[in-house]
Symmetry: C2
DNA sequence: TGTTGCTATGTTAACGAGAACAACCCCTGG
DNA sequence: CCAGGGGTTGTTCTCGTTAACATAGCAACA
């Protein structure tokens, strides 16, 4: 071989062990070599093109299996500008709502051959969602699902244009496609239930101030009371946890006037229940308690918890659907908006107050 | 221009709107053109190389910002054979253990600049984990964390060689790096606690037969009884749910001989508690109940549940660490194995039996 | 003044896959 | 016997990025 010329056969350096133990898998070329065909033919087999003779196809398939080949996702993504994956952005994934939605999104996505990549923001108040979303733009995803529950409402969520997105937060109504439960009316429904049992008013243990669902649920409670002409007591502000419910419940238990308590969510209600029990106030004889969410354990409290059921799985499925619709077709002017219905689940934690002499004839 | 020659300026076709609305973002070349430098210089800026004059760097950064550029992840992944992402494989993500581990893994991963991609298998018994894991090989991940809880133990998990992996399943001891709680001894600890209170024996509500943790916890319970010379009653087999605990609890409540019940997990214990309460058997006066996991709500049952605390967050963090260690350095012969300690959390659901006349002097 | 040595920048090639096109086979029909 | 055509297979090129190498500019120094 002439000096200064590169030998074509030693040209490709083996660089498999370059990056700490993790070797690159076999490529389409390795398969091609083994099957004695061109790379393109291998590609045809792996994309399911029909223009391959049966015998050739078998040979290629055998080679693939022998090498344990599977197509490189990054190369495909680079080539066709799609990642086959969607991002799921939330504060945390270890709570009932988020984890159920996550599971549902994942199942829906996998059914359509999409992957799901998780993203959190450490401090939503400080970092905000936008940078995280932006980082994802070229990163790895074709679309984005955002579950916002805490976060300052002042911050406007700005996403790269053209990025398919679905948000579970009613604050983006009309800006981004969104899927939510009808928090406000559901909460009102809970209050109406208690009022219709004869309670004079309903006390409230709210969620954190910076949470939109918490705000809506609280507004629903208030509206229910106001429309019924009932007194509106000062709500106790919690943070979704049973702990905060316990604290609020302890205070409420001390007030003999309290006969009905609505809670921002079930966990809070669990804490309230524990506090009432500890204080010797019976549920529902002395005090009625109602929750929100219908987590799986709500059937097993003592007494079983009356609550408003949220269909998290449906929310997750719908969120994915909205994103997929945008990936499939050019964006329409119409911004879709899905409200997932809730339902009142009557169990044993609510009952008429003992002194239910005052009949409330109102029915509207 | 000579015929048959392609005009260099119209060469690149605009194909942005090709795939349904979602346009490709600006590429490194767009930035280069705007900043009037070469693509390589842009690359140098975005990888933080120092060999760029300050003035040039500023010009490039300005161009990046103006175009909203961010580097294409697929291209980078293709180029250096890394995806900057790890896979997390589990049956479901909507239960306490899985969701807490998921959240911990995600936080640890993000802290090191890694993404997390979720994967489930629809039917582990049928599909098995291996195909799912294999699909991930070239797919999108540099490493893999597997949370196995159900799945037939007969199936051996075979992973592509060289794929960094960490498994939360003691069945792969010595085969793959793994992180687990010491289920067996923890469960024994729970039984010992009850026996030491004076109970003659401890009844058991087990997890599903095809779950390894369930099997270990059950074995721990049995060992505890056998070593203490106590009678070993037939366990009730549940499926981790409060529902199954309720069913078992109803049966157990009917047997006046039963004074102590250990449960495969907290949810099951919640069901048992509900059944006992409904049957009029008091806890802990008539029957002691102990759980496993220490989910957040366990403090708020009536009475508060004595249980064995699992540190899910630690498990998640450790799993990620084990995977990272393999990505960073060539694989060592030693297969690491982490056992995360548990602790007995004493609350109010366990107490000596009422007829605690039989003193058990044994101590170990 | 020409060589050396450095810094800043540009050029080339390659990562793996697949669309577009070219080329080849073999068979049929004029 | 050769043109035409369908069925298979191979070649080329590109996606966006960056390592490796090449080059240009300039200062220091003998």
């Amino acid at each position: 071989m002439a000096p200064g010329q590169t030998c074509p056969y030693t040209h490709r350096m083996p660089r498999n062990d370059a990056r700490g133990g993790h070797t690159r898998g076999p490529s389409i070329r390795d398969v091609a070599r083994l099957a004695e065909v061109s790379a393109q033919t291998v590609s045809r087999v792996s994309t399911g093109s029909d223009a391959v003779r049966q015998e050739t196809r078998d040979r290629v398939l055998r080679a693939m299996e022998q090498l344990g080949y599977s197509p490189n996702h990054a190369a495909r993504a680079l080539r066709d500008g799609r990642f086959g994956s969607i991002g799921l952005l939330a504060h945390r994934f270890d709570r009932t709502g988020e984890s159920m939605i996550t599971d549902a999104v994942l199942r829906a996505a996998q059914a359509e051959g999409y992957g799901v990549t998780l993203v959190t923001v450490q401090d939503a108040a400080h970092d905000g969602w936008t940078p995280a979303a932006n980082r994802l733009r070229h990163q790895t995803v074709d679309g984005l699902i955002i579950i916002r529950s805490e976060g300052h409402s002042t911050e406007q969520l700005a996403l790269p244009t053209g990025m398919p997105v679905a948000v579970s937060d009613s604050r983006v109504h009309g800006v981004y496609p969104c899927v939510v439960s009808d928090e406000l009316n559901s909460s009102r429904m809970a209050v109406d239930h208690l009022l219709s049992l004869g309670h004079r008013t309903v006390h409230y243990v709210a969620g954190p101030e910076d949470s939109e669902p918490a705000r809506l649920r609280r507004a629903g409670w208030r509206t229910g009371l106001v429309q019924a002409g009932a007194e509106v007591p000062e709500p106790h502000v919690g943070d979704w946890t049973a702990d905060s419910g316990y604290t609020a419940g302890t205070a409420l238990a001390a007030d003999p006037e309290v006969t009905a308590i609505a809670c921002a969510n079930d966990e809070t209600a669990f804490g309230v229940l524990a506090a009432l029990h500890e204080a010797g106030r019976r549920v529902p004889e002395d005090v009625s308690v109602i929750g929100f969410d219908d987590v799986s354990l709500s059937r097993f409290t003592q007494p079983p918890l009356t609550t408003v059921k949220q269909h998290f799985t449906t929310i997750g499925t719908q969120l994915f659907r909205l994103v997929m619709d945008q990936i499939g077709t050019p964006r329409t002017a119409e911004i879709p908006d899905v409200t997932v219905p809730t339902e009142l689940v009557l169990r044993a934690s609510t009952a008429p107050p003992r002194s239910a002499s005052v009949s409330r004839a109102q029915t509207g």
